[in-house]
Symmetry: C2
């Protein structure tokens, strides 16, 4: 088998052909790059992943990060990973040249992280959170904050984190209680505690820069009173020394998966001298944080997709090597004298492999689509274009986070199932991927939160303009598909589904217009499942269009079978997945209100 | 919260009202029992589970069974469990009085095990496998085998196992290679190895009785040459001593879940003197084993249901205690001055709780329905009745195994989701249940194997007679529901689904009749999902019928709300689950053959 965890040909086909990287590279911001330089970059990431990441994923599960004597200890291989990752510039891939970055399109940035996460999902969060927090400082921080913190973060000498969650307030950020008291100096005194802080500490970076949500004394209640602070683990003095700043690691959450990726508990200001520096203006913390959150949501979906990719290739390898059972002959019997056949020859195994392939590659395409909108937004030259891509980006972000999370569970479960009893055993990888991926639906806003965001905010904003823009994009793909006979039936299904979305919205919107938001949003998660399936169906038709086009124009640089397999998998998706949408629509249009206004003791 | 892992009121309502235990008890075999004595028995099992099982489930996960110096060591609490379980007679619950059993209906037997498994799913397999193997000896073994082995198994002085799987042949039992060479004595010499042997060894039983599938020298190839042997770990001599029998434990499989329930690797006959005694006639081993397998399949589904039950109550408790977030007001805003609300007040949390309740209680009902057919079969006085119940039992068995396995994964995943980030952490139980339940779809024939059995054997036998009988049973429930106005719409949906089953079979059967079995069975797993959903929908309508009837007749012994909650949950099932069947039918009726005759390198 040629792939251990990712298929680079598919990744490049999605990037270059389906999502037309060259178009992006023609924009001024990215004009230093061409396909050749991107190719070289991607291949170098793959080499790094093959050698420094993939060989250690099992060992990181077996030797989890742990808390001892006020410190978090991560797997020893992180020494090499942090050093090399810093040297390779993974933190600043998307940053401006002026900020020490590489000014790469985010689509390419995500592709690189995808490869690393598929190789070892316990790792890239250490890079990504440092990138996200450095980016927040660059976007909204003072020149002093930029100068003091960013250079050391760029090469991972210092790590970065985002500190949102508190014990009494998980998803409910309006209940943040950590306080920030102004002083006569340029800093505030921070006091409070934060939990579930990913990449919060380890022995291979000399300092950590925490981006902390806190409430300035006297600030309004709710999210309108939340500000953002830079709170270093150790504060740098004028002469460059690092001084204790009372940001204490007090514990590590022990988890069922992603054990190499630490999840810490931090107490700020136990000695009443924890200093934090305000980022931007007071009480605007949540809006700043959302820049990071939105990137992190795409990144989380990407990570889910990457784990599912690794599980897929792990089960594919097994299916190609394991003999078991025989085919039935014309009289429905098996001939026990025959050699056993490889299990990949059983249709049910193929069904489970196709299901994984359809979820993994469809999700990859969705991640690239979403980040493509991001790149187009930031490089747009007109306000109108900028707004269009912003709306599309905002609409797709919760879907790009959730579809890979939820369907990724199913996908990795199929990987286990292909291995039979061995799938449940520690000797094989699928059980680890299955444990690892379960966090994805919880990180960065649970599926429920994403679904409220999708239906309650993204869909309704500006009278549904984002959904209209999406429908236009989808119509474009349908139109293209209609020029290929083989694809017409699938274009028709997608069109029918667009109509179904409209029908569902016609039933749901009146509840919102009447102010009955509880009713409007009660089945938001079902809506997410519904629209997510259609959006990935759109991605698959887009993939099939491109594959067909390449084959017709004989513009291939891979065997014809590669492109045909994409068309075949599109058909699988439409036959086994798109068939679910009508039932989901029916659930969404029910008028029983079964989950509303029933007493809690009904259970 | 009153329930930690199971709701005994629901269990008794399903047993006594929905599945009419009294009807069973009126049959001669069970006539020593009445509802009062069954009540006392169930309550004693609950007390045992509360004190000896539930408090240890977390610790069994943290201190797994392990292999050392040729022996398996299980958690120390098993000393008490094995002793008390033996005394309480859990092995012989269903056995004849003459065999030292309690001659209880299997429906009650399953209810008792359900409670124990919900309390601690790592435990009851030790009882159940001993029961199953003793039952095999009683059913098919010689008087000598019965006398020698069964008495010691009844009180768990000795444990019993079933040894089917070999490394080179997982699900493919026709490839069993373990050999049995006849000797001039009454025993054979056994040589080979078996893997994945649940409850294969531990320090608290003095001997183990392995029921081993092996091939007598010169036997036909395939399943027709497989015989069944009793192979004791230590063989008893005339004077009652136990002698080494070369049935060596060589390892323990380390698993992602159910870690307290050992999974061993056994090598037979390394010294060429492992003695085994033939059970029944040669070459009929698989047909004998299938008696045990069929019971074990229902038991496995029961175990899945029980794990999902425990996860449900664990997440329900959290939802009732955890404040987070606020309701939206009429202008779609939240008032941050308000106290946070309990998360159970959010519709999305209620949706996840109802989904769990619908899966758990629907599956429980399915297990009782299936075992009810078993009890009716064995107590039938006419051949016709016996055949009817046998066909219904055989048809439902693979569904009763698979529905709780597959939907139980979804159900426990919802339990995690309700806890948010905490759900992923070892401090809370849902993550353990989620890991534990993943084995259920693999034990005793994977979902793929069960689905082939359902569509390829149970549905087609006798020209589809079993499915006809099932349709009659379902029609009976529909008829009853039609006498209650509130239930009529759901009766109509169930009737429509019965029509859909016919429609699907009309498309599928011609493939079988033409001898194209590969095509016929390609989507057997989808068919399982389809029919399983409808069968559980039937169970829910049956439950709602009974609840409505009890309320109308004011024949309640629990608050009205209890019965109303059943009707409400039925509505939930029909609104959120039965809506899936049309899409599945569409997949089943597709004519694309996407998983057949495609090259293996398409992936």
């Amino acid at each position: 088998m040629k792939h251990d965890y990712v298929d680079i040909d598919t990744l490049k086909f999605l990037l270059y052909n389906v999502h037309q990287t060259e178009d992006l590279l023609s924009r001024e911001r990215f004009s230093d790059y061409d396909i050749t330089s991107i190719d070289i970059f991607i291949d170098s990431v793959k080499t790094f992943s093959d050698t420094a990441l993939f060989p250690f994923i099992k060992d990181m599960d077996e030797k989890p990060s742990y808390f001892k004597d006020g410190k978090i200890n991560v797997h020893p291989q992180f020494e090499n990973i942090i050093k090399t990752g810093g040297e390779m510039g993974f933190v600043g891939l998307g940053f401006d040249y002026d900020d020490g970055g590489m000014q790469m399109p985010s689509t390419i940035f995500h592709a690189a992280y995808f490869i690393m996460e598929a190789a070892n999902n316990h790792v890239p969060g250490y890079f990504g959170l440092t990138a996200g927090s450095a980016n927040l400082i660059l976007s909204f921080g003072s020149q002093m904050l930029k100068n003091t913190y960013v250079p050391n973060m760029l090469d991972l000498t210092w790590g970065g984190t985002m500190c949102l969650t508190e014990p009494q307030a998980g998803s409910s950020l309006s209940d943040v209680k950590t306080t920030a008291s102004p002083t006569s100096e340029d800093y505030y005194l921070i006091k409070g505690q934060k939990i579930f802080i990913s990449a919060g500490d380890h022995q291979f970076s000399s300092n950590f820069v925490h981006l902390v949500l806190a409430r300035v004394y006297g600030a309004p209640s709710g999210i309108k009173g939340v500000s953002l602070f830079v709170v270093p683990k150790k504060r740098p003095t004028q002469n460059g020394e690092l001084v204790y700043n009372s940001a204490d690691i007090v514990g590590e959450f022990e988890k069922m998966g992603q054990k190499g990726y630490c999840t810490t508990h931090i107490v700020f200001g136990d000695n009443d001298n924890c200093r934090g520096w305000l980022v931007g203006e007071p009480n605007k913390g949540l809006s700043y944080m959302f820049q990071m959150m939105n990137e992190a949501r795409i990144a989380t979906g990407r990570m889910g997709t990457a784990i599912a990719s690794a599980a897929y290739y792990s089960s594919l390898k097994y299916a190609n090597e394991r003999p078991q059972g025989r085919k039935l002959n014309r009289s429905g019997q098996k001939n026990a004298e025959e050699e056993q056949t490889l299990i990949i020859n059983h249709p049910d195994i193929k069904r489970m492999l196709f299901s994984q392939k359809a979820i993994v590659e469809g999700s990859m395409s969705l991640i690239f689509q979403t980040s493509n909108y991001f790149d187009k937004e930031i490089t747009s030259t007109s306000d109108e274009e900028k707004e269009k891509y912003n709306l599309l980006l905002e609409l797709l972000t919760p879907i790009a986070k959730t579809y890979p999370a939820e369907k990724g569970i199913e996908s990795t479960s199929n990987a286990i199932q292909i291995l039979g009893g061995y799938g449940f055993c520690f000797d094989f990888m699928p059980q680890q991927y299955y444990r690892d991926i379960r966090i994805i639906a919880l990180y960065e806003g649970t599926t429920g939160i994403q679904s409220l965001d999708l239906l309650g905010r993204k869909i309704t904003e500006q009278n549904g303009k984002a959904l209209e823009l999406l429908a236009e994009e989808i119509q474009q793909t349908i139109k293209e598909a209609n020029s290929y006979d083989d694809l017409k039936p699938y274009a028709a299904i997608l069109l029918e589904n667009l109509g179904l979305v409209k029908k569902v919205m016609n039933i749901l919107m009146p509840h919102a217009l009447k102010g009955n938001f509880e009713r409007f949003l009660a089945d938001a998660t079902v809506f997410m499942n519904f629209l997510g399936t259609i959006v990935v169906g759109w991605q698959w038709l887009k993939i099939a269009n491109k594959a067909t086009q390449v084959l017709e124009k004989k513009n291939v640089n891979l065997p014809n079978e590669f492109y045909k397999s994409k068309i075949h998998t599109m058909k699988f998706f439409y036959t086994y997945e798109m068939t679910r949408t009508k039932g989901l629509a029916k659930t969404l249009m029910n008028n029983e209100e079964l989950t509303i206004s029933v007493p809690n003791d009904i259970f």
